[in-house]
């Protein structure tokens, strides 16, 4: 990890200012700004997924479990006890972290395909529970966030712009956590595990503990984002927030398309995948259901075949080619 050069700092500051000012370029009640919000939120989720999958190579197909826990915890606390979603978010993060611990304990020795399968089943368990336990969750018909006057304390706004800044802050926060972990001892341990679990064990890394810490962090962060999603959408159901396709696979795909294991990858991926998906929905949905999802699947297959390390690696390859041409 090279230290941030002044040039890079300036670049980041400019980008940040542009990102904060961006919503003023859009109709505050329009559709485009909502898509930007979703792109920021999904970018943050992909970044949280990246902590386990990118750093430790533990590919989870069940992150919807934590996301749904976050969405339901804050919403249920708000409905039944009038508790502010900020506190609900903390409660959701604790439960999300606990859920990550719960699934980590039996699956931590699993690798690769086996881990992916176990997490896939865990996400489905949560979806089935949320659908069947109607007394708590409202069941398959879904649940609405009670309306409150616009305020930061209740995390509800009439306009879309405040949501945009919230989601931007979330993306920056999760990305900062990802970068901090990557540079920390924990990050080095995780990378040792990624390279070779047995070798990591031999040099004295408690691989189980390391993986569990990463999983709990990732699960807790994902739950926080679930609360944000609930407050943003006002309505959701188990198949949406606990869905394999709608959350688990989509989040993983965003990170992969952008560049798994890198800090910028999930952000690039989100700002490519989410607008593309919305765009495809808009032009195709009138003619045929499924076409936009088809595009989505084809994109995933193509990226995997062309460059499984995503846009970041493609960019690096291009840059290298240009540099070579300069020299000759």
């Amino acid at each position: 990890m090279s230290r941030l050069s002044p040039m890079r700092l300036i670049l980041i500051a400019v980008l940040l200012a542009a990102a904060i000012a961006l919503p003023f370029a859009f109709d505050p009640r329009g559709y485009a700004i909502r898509i930007l919000c979703l792109a920021l939120l999904f970018g943050a989720m992909a970044q949280a997924w990246n902590i386990v999958a990118g750093l430790a190579n533990q590919v989870s197909l069940g992150h919807a479990a934590f996301f749904g826990i976050g969405a339901y915890t804050s919403t249920l606390l708000l409905i039944h006890f009038g508790i502010s979603p900020w506190l609900g978010m903390i409660a959701g993060a604790v439960l999300g972290g606990l859920a990550a611990l719960l699934i980590s304990l039996p699956t931590m020795r699993l690798r690769g395909h086996y881990f992916a399968l176990a997490t896939l089943a865990f996400g489905e368990v949560m979806r089935v529970i949320a659908n069947s336990w109607g007394g708590l969750t409202g069941g398959p018909v879904g649940i609405s966030v009670p309306f409150a006057p616009s305020s930061l304390a209740m995390l509800q706004f009439k306009e879309t712009r405040p949501y945009y800044w919230l989601m931007l802050a979330a993306l920056i926060a999760v990305t900062a956590i990802f970068v901090a972990i990557r540079k920390s001892r924990l990050g080095y341990r995780l990378r040792a595990i990624k390279e070779n679990v047995d070798a990591a064990e031999v040099i004295g890394i408690d691989t189980t503990r390391t993986k569990i810490i990463a999983a709990v962090l990732s699960g807790g962060l994902t739950a926080c984002l679930g609360t944000l999603y609930a407050q943003f959408q006002y309505f959701f159901d188990p198949d949406t927030v606990f869905g394999v396709g709608s959350i688990s696979v989509r989040v993983a795909m965003i990170a992969i398309v952008g560049g798994i294991g890198t800090a910028i990858g999930p952000i690039l991926g989100a700002f490519f995948v989410i607008p593309l998906e919305e765009f495809a929905n808009q032009i195709f949905s009138a003619q045929a259901a499924g076409l936009s999802q088809l595009v989505f699947g084809v994109l995933l297959v193509v990226v995997i075949l062309v460059e499984p390390r995503g846009f970041v690696a493609m960019g690096q390859r291009l840059a290298r080619r240009f540099r070579r041409e300069d020299r000759s």
Binding site: A53, H113, E124, V125, V128, F296, G297, L300, L305, P308
Partner: protein
């Protein structure tokens, strides 16, 4: 008596589960790939059988070999065009290639066949046989017998034919098989085509008692993985045992729980097996 009846029903559906899951375990055993899209080939098999019935008036049981053949060819092509390219890639790439394939197949089916549910009507649909105090539904029995027959054919093929032996050799030791002049590329193609074809065959034989829809695969994904993981990923004999076990678990839990929670029982069994016996209940026996 209800318990005995449930076990009998479980055995009947378990036979079908075994056959659709043998395909999945075969692909893993020979190529080391977990095919997340496997259940989509079951969906395709159902649709081939449905259109054979709707257009040609063919009974789904007779259309099953046709479903096998169509999907066999498709599988060979997919292996050659897509899967072959990630065999040496990191696991992340392997997982998400087949996940991508799943999304593509499900939505292509949605576009081609529409989102509606399609079912066939056969003369034996509601018939059942009485064995003393027990009842056997004829479509379940027919699907079971067809599954057993196809399983036996596969077993004979693997045991006796040169291709079967070569495929097992490739699964056991790819290097040694190559040294003996076995074209591993061709073996992978055969294994993948056979695997998805067999799953499609299973899809066709269950059509008399299940409705086809583009999203039907979703009901079978975790189920198939539970079957193969119970028996040990890569083990064909294990898939047979796992298939019966899952069939019986499912129908017994049907006595105690409402239908949605039956799947929950399966998921919990699945995670439990992965956690405590990741090589399957039969151990590492391949």
């Amino acid at each position: 008596m209800a318990v005995v009846q449930a076990i009998l029903d479980g055995l009947m559906i378990g036979g079908v589960y075994a056959v659709i899951s043998i395909g999945l375990t075969l692909v893993f055993g020979v190529m080391g790939i977990v095919n997340f899209a496997q259940a989509e080939f079951l969906m395709l098999g159902m649709f081939v059988a449905y259109y054979a019935w709707a257009w040609l008036g063919l009974d789904p049981l007779l259309a099953a070999p046709l479903a096998f053949a169509v999907v066999f060819v498709l599988g060979a092509a997919l292996q050659h065009l897509l899967i072959r390219r990630v065999l040496k890639a990191p696991e992340v790439a392997q997982i998400f290639l087949t996940v991508g394939l799943l999304i593509v197949m499900e939505n292509a089916a949605l576009l081609m066949f529409g989102s509606g549910f399609k079912s066939v009507s056969t003369p034996y649909q509601t018939a059942s046989l009485q064995l003393g105090p027990l009842f056997v539904s004829v479509p379940y029995l027919a699907a079971f017998l067809m599954s057993v027959a196809s399983g036996l054919v596969l077993w004979l093929f693997m045991k006796l034919s040169w291709f079967g032996k070569a495929m097992r050799a490739t699964a056991q030791d790819p290097m040694a098989a190559k040294l003996l002049g076995i074209n591993s590329d061709r073996m992978h193609m055969l294994a993948f085509a056979l695997g998805v074809g067999l799953t499609a065959f299973g899809g066709a034989v269950i059509l008399p008692y299940l409705t086809a829809s583009p999203t039907v695969g979703g009901q079978f994904v975790v189920l198939m993985f539970t079957v193969v993981v119970l028996g040990g990923l890569g083990s064909v004999a294990g898939a047979v045992v796992g298939g019966f076990a899952v069939g019986i678990i499912q129908s017994l839990s049907g006595l105690a729980f409402p239908i949605q929670l039956q799947n929950l029982v399966l998921f919990v069994v699945f995670i439990g097996v992965l956690a405590f016996r990741p090589k399957g209940l039969l151990g590492a026996a391949r």
